[in-house]
Amino acid sequence: MPDATGLELLAGELREAHGDQALVGTEYFRDQARLFVAPGTVPATLRFLRDRGYSFLASVHGVDYHPEEPRLGVYYELLDMKEVDRIAVRTRVPVDDPVVPSVTPEWPTADHQEREVYDMFGVVFDGHPDLRRILMPEDYEGFPQRRDFPIGGEPILFTHNEPRLPGWWQ
């Protein structure tokens, strides 16, 4: 992990390279370093970090900050295998405009993981070559990992409730 000072140095360099509005903030929490960036600058930030050795994208995952706004968050966990160093990049988007530029063209590993975030949270990755649902059925409606999505809300068909589920065969 870059320590708190190292993180601020990185953040300063990022501000110089991409302007002040690119970086929303930094966090150093429990020995883990994070950069919070604006959605538009995600590919540029990841490219910037790749040039500094963080060349392995370990994970992409989504978070829902309901009821805070902007609600949806996307995390990119980066790893430097030479220095054994990790840093995370996070961006947050509102629910009514959940668009983040896709990093799949540059980081092929993000393909399935961005699809999963889209599937579960409805974050649209602009420029993803094949953005479809991946775990849920193709024709599923709604984004189940959002915090306001009810658990167990789906009717399961049994013989006894068949008449109460009109049109289930359609």
């Binding site: 929490f29 429990r30 020995d31 883990q32 994070r34 060349s55 392995f56 994208l57 370990a58 994970s59 995952h61 989504g62 978070v63 829902d64 995390y75 966990e77 295998m81 054994v84 990790r86 995370a88 629910v95 009514d96 959940p98 668009v99 980081w107 092929p108 590993t109 393909d111 399935h112 993981q113 999963e116 579960m120 409805g122 649209v124 094949d130 953005l131 479809r132 649902r133 991946i134 775990l135 849920m136 059925p137 193709e138 024709d139 409606e141 709604g142 189940p144 990992q145 915090r147 999505f149 658990i151």
Partner: protein, 413 residues
């Protein structure tokens, strides 16, 4: 439901792109559907293969058939109740799932794990690694036609499950690893039985090797098949034995030692060219190295508590309940509400049998996690399947899938 930009609905079949490669006018492309119910897909994995004759030109995995919403379920449980749910993600690596989750929670609450608990965790993790590799060995050799291998490897897997039953009470999904330590100390006789297993296992691995390594059919099907170079695998985010087969010795147990892994002397087996044979050899050798770690952990098992003494996070011992009011209150609070975790987000990676298990936990300050995400290696490694099998025979696709070792419970979660 809030508005989202419209994404056109497409059938899976329409997403197959065939313009990327040329084929003669006389040649006909055939789309073959493999699975989801197929004995060689190691679970409910569906593969849409585009074939030219017998050669795979394109392959798309279709997953989600065993998606059970474990990450969503975990959000409705207290932290200690979420452990058994999280364990069921990758059903061959239950100790690893629980370990990643518990380590993430421990980092959030800044909890120190006693040394004895760390060693007990290591013993069980490594037993689990051998168990997972034995299942891989048995099932993948079954795909390659070596039927007796299945019985041999499952015999030894049974003895590991017996050990699990002895120390944890369960054979699978043991809920042994807890936040702050482990559930119980190992019982009398466990060490002896475990040592007997450790003494027998290296010989067994050699016997498996003797059965397989000189088998011409096996060698022909594994050697120089499905070679993918290190650079491509790194770009695809592949970790674990698949990456190590190309000669990259990345292993979190060495690189970022957690849970006292730096106390043990062990080697990281690596391959040379990254073909199926290297993947096979790396896993075989890993079993031997795991045995060495278990033996060292048994030798150096320190005395002391097996779970943290911090009563805010771990249940008090049973005998205290009868005499101590405070213990009773702690017990009641822990069992009914669970412990509260300070707000924050952490990502905790560990090295599992298939690569990096990374658990992301977000806490909002309550006693239930606000988000649990497992970065499952099978899910990420599956993306490397297409570059592996492109332009190979369909029979090699089966062998390569076996050597990829995907666990569908982990992929779909």
């Amino acid at each position: 439901m809030a508005t989202t930009p419209h994404i056109p609905y497409r059938e899976m079949e329409e997403s197959i792109e065939v313009s990327s490669f040329t084929h003669g006018e006389q040649e006909e492309l055939l789309t073959l559907n493999m699975g989801p119910h197929h004995p060689a897909t190691h679970g409910v994995l569906r593969l849409l293969c585009t074939l030219e004759g017998e050669i795979v030109r394109d392959m798309k995995p279709v997953i989600g058939y065993v998606h059970t919403g474990i990450e969503k379920t975990a959000e409705t449980k207290a932290y200690w109740q979420a452990i058994p749910v999280v364990e069921r993600m990758d059903y061959l690596a239950y100790f690893f799932n629980a370990m990643a989750f518990c380590m993430a929670v421990e980092r959030l609450v800044e909890l120190e794990v006693p040394k004895r608990a760390q060693y007990l965790r290591v013993i069980h993790l490594e037993l689990n690694r051998i168990m997972s590799h034995l299942v891989w060995l048995g099932t993948s050799m079954l795909d390659l036609g070596a039927m007796s291998m299945f019985w041999y490897s499952f015999r030894d897997r049974e003895s590991i499950l017996d050990l699990f039953e002895m120390s944890t009470g369960q054979r699978m999904h043991t809920r042994y690893i807890q936040v702050g330590g482990v559930f119980e100390d190992i019982p009398v006789g466990f060490e002896e039985k475990c040592r007997a297993f450790c003494a027998a296992m290296p010989t067994r691995v050699d016997q498996f090797g003797a059965l397989l390594d000189k088998n011409e059919i096996l060698l022909q099907r594994l050697r120089n098949v499905a070679i993918v170079d290190e650079e491509t695998l790194l770009q695809l985010g592949v970790t674990g034995p698949l990456l190590r087969a190309t000669g990259n010795a990345w292993d979190l147990r060495k690189a970022q030692p957690y849970s006292s892994y730096d106390d043990f002397d062990f080697k990281i087996p690596v391959g040379t060219i990254g073909d199926n044979y290297d993947r096979f050899r790396v896993r075989m050798q890993e079993m031997k190295e795991s045995v060495r770690i278990i033996e060292q952990a048994l030798d150096g098992l320190p005395e002391g508590p097996y779970i943290t003494e911090n009563r805010k996070y771990a249940l008090p011992p049973r005998h205290e309940l009868a005499t101590s009011m405070e213990a009773l209150i702690h017990h009641f609070k822990l069992v009914t509400e669970g412990f509260r975790v300070p707000p924050g987000e952490v990502y905790e990676p560990i090295e599992g049998p298939r690569g990096e298990y990374g658990c992301f936990v977000r806490s909002d300050g309550s006693s239930k996690p606000a988000r649990v995400h497992m970065r499952d290696p099978s899910f990420v490694n599956l993306q490397a399947f297409k570059p592996m099998v492109q332009d190979l025979y369909i029979a090699d696709l089966i062998a390569t899938l076996a050597m990829l070792d995907p666990v569908l419970g982990g992929i779909d979660r």
